[in-house]
C-alpha cells in the first residue's frame, strides 16, 4: 500500500467554466451542482470523474441515467443490504461531467449493526441465487415488454368513441400517465439492475482476493479466465453476426456487403434474389432479441441499439465476411476457452494445500454461480431496456414536435425529465382548451442554447479527480469493485497530473505487448473511424464495441479494472490492454504511436510529434 503523502487534486469549486459555456448549470438539477452551502463538505471529499459510465457531458434529459442508477445503487447498498462500511454514491456535475464520491460508514457500532442486516440479507441471496436470478430474468423480460408496449397517445381533434362510450381515459390523462409510467419503468429497471450487482461483484472480488493472497503472483487475467462464463449471453449477438456472415458466404450473397454500402442498400439488393431473401429471413429470425445489443452503454440517449442503427452490425458482418474470404477462423474458440478455464482452475488448485484448495474451489464455485448475472445484466438493462426506453421518450418528443413545441423530436433530450413533463402538461392543456400555447416559443431557444453548450463542453477534458485525497486508505469495497479506485490508482493519477510523463500506468488487463498508431475515441459514434492495426484509446469501452476488436492491436482506457468490459473482450481476442490509466484520452492524440504493455500495465507514447 502506498504511503505517499496525500496529493491534492483541484478543489471542486475552483474548476473554471470553459469559455463560451457560461450557464451550463441550467441543464442540471440543483442538487447535482456545487455550491457555497456545501463548499466545506465537498472540498474535503474526493470526487472522481466517472468516465467509465459518463465519458461525455450529459444532456439535460440524460440526467435520468445518473439519477436512476444512483438512487438504485444507494438504495440497495445502504438501505437494503446495509453493506457495513459503505453507504451510497453521491454525485456532482461539473461542466457537464459526472463526478462521484462514496459515502463511508466509520462508526464501529453502526458498522456492526449493519453487519447483522447484511449477513442475513446477502446470505439469503447467495443461498438462493439461481432461483432469484431466474425470477429476475422474468421481471426484466416483463418490464421490457411493458415499456415496448407503452402507448403514447396521439392528440386528435375529437377523442375516440371509446372515451365517449366505453369509459376510456381521456387523452390528457393518458399522455401524462404514459410519460410518468415510462419514467417509473426506467427507475424499476435500475432497481433490478442493482439487485444482484453488488453481491455478484463481491463474490468475484472475494475469490480474486483469495487467489492473490494464496498465489501472490497470479495474473489478474487468470483469475478472470477461471471465472468468466463461456456461453455468456453478452457474446451471443456477435456470435450471431459471425453466423450471418457465414450464411452470406454459403448463399453466395456476400458480394452485396461491399464496402461503403448502407444497410438499406444491402437489404434492398438482397430482396431481389431468392438466396438474398433467404438470408434476410435468417436475419429476421435472430434480430429479436439479439439486435437489441447497444452501440454504447445505455447511459446516453444517443446510444442506439443495432435495431435502431444497423450500420454497426452490418459493418461487423462485412468484417467477418472478409475474414472468411481470407480463410481466417471467425468463430469464438469456445471449446478452447472452456478447456483453458478448467485447466487453469485445476492447475492453480493443485498448487495449494488441501485446506486452501477447499476454500479456493468453494469461492470459485460461488463466483461462477454469480458471474452469469454480472455479465448478462448489461444486455437486459443497459442495452435492451434502455434502447426501448429512449425510443419511447423519442415518441413523446415526436408528439411535442407535431404540435410545434420542438423543431424535432430528438430535441426532447435537451430538456430535463421534469421539463418534458411540464411541456407535456402545457401541450395537453393547450390542446384541450384550444388557446395559444407558449411552448413553441419557449422551448426551441432553450434547446438551441443547450446544444451549443454541449458541443463546447465536449471540448473540455475533466481532471480525473477533484477534492482532497483521503489520508486513510480508501476502504470502500464498492469503489474498488465497480471503478477500480484504489489508493495506488489515485496516487498515479495525481502524479500524472503534475508531470508530463511519456508513460501512463494502469491495470494490466490483458497480457502481451503491441505497438501501433493511436485512435482516440471519446464518443461512441467515432468507433466506425477505427482503422485496422490501430490501438484503441477510449475513456471506456463496452461489449457493444466487440465488432471493432478484430481490427485493433490493443486497447487503452481511462477507467476500469480488470473486470471491465475492455479487459474481458481483449482477453477474448488475445489483445494487450491497459485499463484505468486515468488520462489516456487527454494525453494521447490520434495518430501518435503507442506501445501497450498489457502484461505490466504500462502505456508508452513513442513519439511526441503532432500527427500529420
Amino acid at each position: 500500500m502506498s504511503t505517499t503523502p496525500a496529493s491534492t487534486f483541484p478543489s471542486p469549486l475552483s474548476i473554471a467554466t470553459p469559455e463560451g459555456c457560461e450557464g451550463w448549470e441550467e441543464m442540471y438539477p440543483y442538487y447535482a451542482l456545487l455550491g457555497e452551502d456545501r463548499r466545506e463538505a465537498d472540498e474535503q471529499r474526493l470526487w472522481f470523474w466517472n468516465s467509465m459510465h459518463f465519458p461525455e457531458p450529459m444532456s439535460a434529459f440524460d440526467v435520468v441515467a445518473i439519477d436512476g442508477p444512483y438512487y438504485a445503487l444507494a438504495n440497495w447498498q445502504n438501505r437494503v443490504f446495509a453493506i457495513p462500511p459503505a453507504m451510497g454514491i453521491d454525485y456532482r456535475i461539473v461542466n457537464g461531467y459526472v463526478f462521484i464520491t462514496p459515502n463511508a460508514v466509520t462508526d464501529p457500532n453502526l458498522i456492526a449493526e449493519r453487519a447483522a442486516y447484511f449477513g442475513e440479507r446477502a446470505g439469503y441471496y447467495f443461498a438462493n441465487w439461481d432461483e432469484l436470478y431466474g425470477r429476475w430474468r422474468e421481471k426484466m423480460r416483463k418490464l421490457i415488454a411493458e415499456i415496448t408496449a407503452l402507448e403514447v397517445p396521439q392528440l386528435r381533434t375529437y377523442e375516440e368513441d371509446a372515451v365517449a362510450f366505453e369509459d376510456r381515459d381521456t387523452s390528457f390523462v393518458r399522455v401524462l400517465d404514459s410519460y410518468n409510467r415510462a419514467l417509473r419503468m426506467h427507475e424499476q429497471m435500475w432497481q433490478h439492475h442493482f439487485e444482484f450487482l453488488l453481491l455478484g461483484y463481491g463474490a468475484y472480488l472475494t475469490f480474486s482476493d483469495f487467489c492473490k493472497s494464496a498465489l501472490p503472483e497470479i495474473p489478474d487475467q487468470h483469475i478472470a479466465q477461471m471465472v468468466s462464463g463461456i456461453d455468456v449471453l453478452l457474446f451471443r449477438p456477435d456470435t450471431e453476426l459471425r453466423h450471418l456472415a457465414r450464411l452470406a458466404r454459403e448463399a453466395g450473397v456476400d458480394a452485396s456487403f461491399a464496402d461503403g454500402r448502407s444497410p438499406e442498400a444491402i437489404i434492398a439488393e438482397l430482396g431481389q434474389s431468392e438466396a438474398g431473401r433467404g438470408w434476410l429471413e435468417s436475419l429476421e429470425a435472430v434480430k429479436d432479441p439479439w439486435f437489441n445489443m447497444g452501440s454504447g452503454d445505455g447511459f446516453y440517449h444517443h446510444h442506439r441499439s443495432w435495431l435502431d442503427d444497423p450500420s454497426i452490425p452490418f459493418s461487423a458482418i462485412r468484417g467477418h465476411i472478409d475474414a472468411l474470404v481470407e480463410g481466417r477462423d471467425t468463430e469464438r474458440p469456445t471449446e478452447h476457452l472452456a478447456a483453458e478455464r478448467n485447466r487453469l482452475a485445476h492447475e492453480y488448485g493443485a498448487l495449494l494445500d488441501e485446506q486452501a484448495r477447499g476454500t479456493f474451489n468453494e469461492l470459485l464455485g460461488l463466483s461462477r454461480t454469480v458471474f452469469p448475472y454480472v455479465e448478462e445484466h448489461k444486455f437486459f438493462c443497459e442495452y435492451w431496456f434502455q434502447s426501448r426506453f429512449f425510443n419511447k421518450v423519442r415518441e413523446f418528443g415526436a408528439l411535442l414536435a407535431t404540435h410545434g413545441f420542438l423543431h424535432d423530436g430528438e430535441d426532447v433530450f435537451q430538456l430535463s425529465r421534469h421539463e418534458v413533463g411540464e411541456a407535456l402538461e402545457e401541450l395537453v392543456l393547450s390542446w384541450a382548451h384550444g388557446g395559444p400555447p407558449r411552448g413553441p416559443h419557449h422551448w426551441p431557444p432553450i434547446v438551441e442554447r443547450r446544444r451549443r453548450l454541449l458541443e463546447r463542453l465536449k471540448q473540455w477534458t475533466p481532471p480525473p479527480a477533484m477534492g482532497t485525497m483521503p489520508t486513510e486508505a480508501i476502504n470502500d469495497p464498492i469503489s474498488v469493485m465497480l471503478w477500480g479506485i484504489t489508493p495506488e490508482r489515485l496516487h498515479s493519477w495525481a502524479s500524472a497530473m503534475s508531470g508530463d510523463s511519456l508513460t501512463l500506468t494502469g491495470a494490466a488487463a490483458s497480457p502481451g505487448v503491441a505497438e501501433g498508431p493511436a485512435r482516440v475515441v471519446r464518443d461512441v459514434h467515432e468507433i466506425t473511424d477505427v482503422q485496422p492495426g490501430e490501438i484503441l484509446v477510449s475513456t471506456v469501452t463496452s461489449p457493444a464495441w466487440a465488432p471493432i476488436f478484430p481490427k485493433i492491436r490493443g486497447a487503452v482506457t481511462d477507467i476500469g479494472g480488470i473486470m471491465s468490459h475492455a479487459a474481458i473482450v481483449c482477453r477474448e481476442y488475445g489483445l494487450p490492454a491497459v485499463v484505468g490509466t486515468g488520462r489516456a484520452t487527454a494525453e494521447i492524440r490520434t495518430g501518435q504511436r503507442l506501445r501497450v504493455d498489457g502484461t505490466n500495465g504500462v502505456v508508452t507514447l513513442l513519439d511526441d510529434e503532432e500527427p500529420a
Binding site: 453487519a115 449477513g119 494464496a214 503472483e217 492447475e347 492453480y348 497480457p511
Partner: protein
Amino acid sequence: MTECARPLAELRAHDEDRFGGKSTSLGELIAGGIPVPPGFAVSTAAFEAFLATGSVGERVEDALAGIDPDDVAAVAAASAAVTLEMRRTPVPDAVAAEVGRHYAALAATSSKRQPPVAVRSSARGEDSAEATFAGQQETYLWVRGTDGVCEAIRGCWISLYSAEAISYRARMAAGGGPPAMGVAVQLMVDAEVSGVMFTCSPLTGDPSVVAINASWGLGLGVVGGEVTPDDFLISKVSHEILRRTIADKQVEYVPDPGGRGTHRVAVEEPRRTAACLDEEGLRALVQTARAVERHFGSRQDIEWAIARTGSLPENLFVLQSRPVTATARAGSEAVADRTGLDAMSLVLGTFGVKPRRD
C-alpha cells in the same frame, strides 16, 4: 579400505552421510531423469583418510585446541597454520588412485582426454547459511587432469579451515572432532548462459511461478552476486512471462584461455544489455524446474547452465538443486486468515463484515 569415490548416478538420498548433500542430490536428479553433467562423488571417508596421513589430523587438532572464536588474530593464525600444514600434505595415494580411475572413466564418456571438470564441496545437511560458515561451499571450475582434480579436492577440504569456518564451528560445536565433507566432481558445462532459479517466488513464496536469474557465461557471476542478472518471473500454469527485467550485465566468467580455471571478462555491447534468455530458453527452464520440483516433492533452488554447443533442450543442465527453506511467505498469514472459513464468511468479509471464528 573404505569407499573413496562413486559415480554420481549411483548415489541416492540415503548416501548423504557418506557423500554429502550436494552429491547425493545430484544422484537423485539423475535418477529422476533430470539432465545433470556426469561425474563422481568423493566420500567423507576420503577426507578422513587425508587427515590420517602422517599426523596432519593431530596437528590440525592441536592448532585449534581451546581456540577462542572471538579472538580474531588467534583464529586467523590457526587458519593460516592449518592451511599451510594441509597444503604440504599430498592427497593419499589410495584416494588419488580412485579419483584418477573415476576421472578416466569420465574422460571416456567425453570426447576429451583431460576434460575440464567442476569440483565442489558437498556439505552434510542442507542449511546453506550454515554450510557457508562451515566452509562447505568451495567451488573450483575448469579443473583438468587427475593432479588438478586432487588439488581442487584438497582445496575443498582446506576451505573447512577458513577463519570464518573455524570461528563458526568453535562457537557452535562443543568439540565433536573434525568436520566431515564430501566433494562432487562433474564434467564442466561450457555455459553460454547460466544462473539460478526458484520453483516459487523467492519474495512471496507463491508456488505458481518460477523465478529465474540469468547472466552470460559461467554461473559464478550470478551466484557470487557480481553481476546483476536478468530477472524473469514465469507462470508455471500458463508459461507466460509475468515480469521481465533485463539488466546491464557488465562481466562474465569464461574458461581461461590457458585451458585451466576461469577468467572474468567484460561483456561487450550489444550483449551486455540484451536478454540472455529467449522464450525457448525460458520454456525449457520452466519445464526443468517443474520436473525437479516434482521429483523432490518440494520447492527447489536450482543452479543451471545452458551450454554453448548443442541445442535446447538437450544443452540445458542442472548443476545442483536444494530445497528452498527460507522463503519469506508474505501471503501465508493472509491465507491462514482465510482458510478454515466457509466461502460465505469470506464474501461477507469483502463487504467489511469481520469473520467470527467459533
